[in-house]
Amino acid sequence: MTRLWVLLTVFGAIFCAPFLISSEFWLNAVLMMLYAALLGQSWNILGGYGGQFSFGHALFFGVGAYTVAVLQVQFGLNPWIGMALGGGLSAMVATVVGWLSFRYGLRGAYFALVTLAFAEVFRIVANSVGLTGAGEGILIRLDRQPAMMQFEDLSSYFWLLWAITLGCFLAAWRLENSRFGARLVAVRDNEDAASAIGVNVLRVKLQAIALSGFFMGLAGVFYAQKFLYLDAGLAFGPTVSVEALLVPIIGGMGTLFGPLLGAAALHAVAEVAREVIGGRPGLDMAIYGAILVGMMLFLPRGLARIGRGSARRIVGREVTGGRGNA
């Protein structure tokens, strides 16, 4: 239970950020960090706890984002309803992709490739079809009122994102303390052994990808409502996929606080680099890539597992049943 209290305390502190930070710039920086933590924890549910590495998580992000945008622009549906539909549809798409992949036993690199290919297919379709605005993208009409999920001030956006992210982290916390989570970790550590003791491997993986896709979809909805513009590259392109997997890899895969730590570290480094070198295109991503390579070389288990003291036990407790060479 201590971990739940730590989690709630941390999120309580984050909730107060708009009261403490008067500068719009810094509040936005914290918001972007929180957003990265949401992407990262969504990926972590499937990739960290479940060991299924997706390289195309933008697929679920894009489905959520386009759902809320298209329903709103083309059919006049309220975005709050669109949000629920976006999360639900993302979870459904995730389940279908998961069923197709896991049903045929795709693991490791092949699962990564197939998710990447699905994201590409969706990107090409969204880039060509009239419904999604094709290559021009889709613009959500400016209408700043809470009923339309558009806010005058940054704080309200911040709290909306805070609520979604808290939900995602609570889901991860539940995962660590439930039989479902134990099964998922068992599948990650040794699929054959898990299957032998009666774990329904396919079912567990599908539940994990659906949950992961749901929160990724909500992240997409938030993005659409915050920036009010989408195109195929933004929604389904590699940037989101990379950020989603990078955050937990830096912070520590399969840990509750890893994504938060990773998001903070990633944004701190990116921010400093931008100050030092200036904001030429390509730089952010080049740094992300270099961090990924560096992490793999020197800290393949993530920041959360550096220390060995009590902090590690609270922050970085790894849910594991003895790592095999899976």
Partner: protein, 289 residues
Amino acid sequence: MDFSILMPSILNGITTGALYALVALGLTLIYGVLHIINFAHGALLMLALYGVYYLNRLFGLDPYWSLLIVPPAMFVLGYALQRFVIARASHGRDENILLVTLGLAIVIENLALFFFRSDTQVVNTPYAFDVVEVMGAFLPYPKVVAFFAALATATALWALMTRTDLGRAIRALAKERKGARLVGIDVEHIFAVSFGIGVGVLGIAACLLMPSYYVSPQVGNGFVLIAFTIVVLGGMGSFAGALIGGIVIGVVEAVGGLMLGESLGQIGIFLIFILILLFRPQGIMGHQA
């Protein structure tokens, strides 16, 4: 559909496919030996293309003469990457290799964006617009050259693997890592050589591609999934498979483009990719229980 439109489109697809095959040959070699999915393949191709481009722009070197410089340079780069980065980052886990090559791809691509800007560059050659008539279709001269070069490269790789000591060592390593070490093969060195050859072949592909294509920092992206598709389609690790797979993909893209239009035509490739991964996993997952 009118045959007189279809036939040139198919022939065009075959020559494009041979170029794809050339890109895929290196990937299939790396996969077959090291069991590594090299996500940086597209980015390395882009780098090689820039090499060809700058050799032409700064020294006026014809892309075909670059064959003497770019492939060896790419070999050295590939050797170094495997030996000093990828092998060290793996820590004995395949997922780490996957992630480190993804990281390399991101770094290379975005540094290119940073230094070369996102502009599209081409190399002007006197023969760029020459055509060769084949069965009533007019094919660009550079593509015909590339087609035969792809055949020659595949044959050379096959000969290397079956007829030389190096090839035997590589194959031994692919089959049995420990056994290879026991009989005195320098495992780390041979791994790096294999990776180097795979990346060196990209250098060949770049020299042949440049006269009929362009280079931009993102150019590798289009190739990387296509190359994966070809490798999966042809059977991981098979050179002949890569050649045939490449040609099939080239034809699918050309005919798909003819029927669905340019932007949707590529979808056929990804659908094939997904279908093969889903329905023929036994061909690509040799070590699955």
